[in-house]
C-alpha cells in the first residue's frame, strides 16, 4: 500500500499534482454553488420587498 502511495519516490509530486487539480476544480464548483445560493437569496428578498411595496401602494 505504501508502495503504491510512494510511487517509486515520486509520490509527493504525483499526489500533489492530482491534489492541485482536484482542489482547483472543487473550489470552482464550490464557488459556483455559493454564488447561486447568495443570488437566489437576494432575488427572494428583492421580490418580497417589491411585493410589500406594491401592497403599500394599493
Amino acid at each position: 500500500m505504501s508502495e503504491f502511495f510512494s510511487m517509486g519516490g515520486f509520490g509527493v509530486f504525483i499526489w500533489s499534482a492530482m491534489g492541485v487539480a482536484m482542489i482547483l476544480m472543487i473550489l470552482e464548483v464550490f464557488s459556483l454553488i455559493m454564488k447561486r445560493r447568495v443570488l437566489i437569496k437576494q432575488i427572494k428578498r428583492n421580490n418580497r420587498l417589491n411585493q410589500r411595496q406594491r401592497k403599500n401602494q394599493a
Binding site: G8, F13, A17, V20, M25, K44
Partner: protein, 252 residues
C-alpha cells in the same frame, strides 16, 4: 425530434434546459475522470517502471492542457456568435466558458510545473510550450478583467467579445513567435513528438480523463451560465416564478 434552436437561444427556455442537463454532465464527468484515473493508476503498472512513475501526472496534465486550449476556441465561438446575431445567450455562454478555461489553464500550468520538477529538476523553464500557456493565461485574464471592469452589461458583452476576436487573430501569431523565435527554424513542438511516444495503454487513460474534464467543463459552464442568467434577468417575471425562487418563500 427536431430541436428548435431559436427557442433555446432565449435565456428563459435555456435556463430549465441547462438545469436538466447539468446532472447528466456531472455523472459523465465523475465516471470518466474516476475511470480514467483508475485505469491510469492500476492498469498500467507494467508500462511504468519505477523510474518513470511520475509519468502518471500525465492524466490530469494533458487533460487540462487540452481543455484549456479547446475552451478558448469555444469562448471565441460564442463571442463571435454574439457579435453576429446579437443573442444575449451567446455572450453569457462566452463569459461562462472563460472562467472554466482559466481554471484549466492554471491546472495545466501547475501540474506541468510539478512534472517539470520531477523530470527537469526545475519548476519553471522558458520552454516554448510553457511560455505559450502562460500567455494563454494572460489572454484569459485580460478577457475576464475587461469584462469585470465594465458595469454596463451590454457594453461588457460586446467589448469582451471583440477582445476575444482580436485574441483569436493574434494568438496564432503569438504562438508562432514563441515557438519560432528564429523565423528560419522552429523549436520542435514537444506536443506532436511526445504524443507519438505515448504508450497506447497510457493513451487510453489520458483520453478518458480528458473526456471527463470536458464533461466537467460542460457542467460548470452551464452552472455559471445559469447564474449569469439569474443575475441579469432577476427582475423579470419568469425568474420570480421559478420554483427555486418561490418554493421556500412560503416558509417565511
Amino acid at each position: 425530434m427536431k430541436i428548435n434552436w431559436f427557442k433555446y437561444s432565449a435565456p428563459m427556455s435555456f435556463y430549465p434546459l441547462a438545469g436538466k442537463l447539468i446532472p447528466l454532465f456531472w455523472i459523465a464527468a465523475i465516471v470518466c475522470i474516476a475511470g480514467g484515473l483508475y485505469w491510469g493508476f492500476f492498469k498500467t503498472a507494467d508500462v511504468l517502471n519505477d523510474q518513470k512513475q511520475y509519468y502518471r501526472i500525465i492524466y490530469v496534465h494533458v487533460a487540462s492542457a487540452w481543455m484549456a486550449m479547446w475552451l478558448y476556441a469555444v469562448m471565441v465561438f460564442w463571442a463571435m456568435l454574439g457579435l453576429i446575431f446579437n443573442t444575449r445567450l451567446s455572450y453569457m455562454l462566452a463569459s461562462a466558458t472563460a472562467i472554466t478555461g482559466t481554471v484549466m489553464t492554471v491546472i495545466a500550468l501547475a501540474t506541468g510545473a510539478i512534472w517539470g520538477k520531477t523530470s527537469w529538476g526545475t519548476y519553471w523553464d522558458w520552454d516554448p510550450k510553457l511560455t505559450s500557456f502562460l500567455i494563454l493565461l494572460f489572454v484569459y485574464i485580460g478577457y475576464i478583467a475587461l469584462q469585470s471592469a465594465i458595469d454596463d452589461k451590454r457594453r461588457s458583452d460586446k467589448a469582451s467579445a471583440l477582445l476575444a476576436l482580436v485574441g483569436l487573430a493574434l494568438v496564432p501569431i503569438i504562438y508562432y513567435a514563441v515557438n519560432c523565435p528564429d523565423p528560419t527554424e522552429c523549436a520542435s513542438l514537444h506536443q506532436e513528438s511526445s504524443l507519438k511516444r505515448v504508450e497506447s495503454n497510457i493513451l487510453i487513460g489520458m483520453l478518458v480523463t480528458t473526456l471527463g474534464f470536458w464533461m466537467y467543463s460542460f457542467a460548470t459552464t452551464l452552472m455559471r451560465a445559469r447564474i449569469i442568467i439569474l443575475e441579469r434577468e432577476r427582475s423579470t417575471t419568469w425568474v420570480s416564478k421559478l420554483a427555486e425562487i418561490t418554493n421556500s418563500e412560503r416558509k417565511h
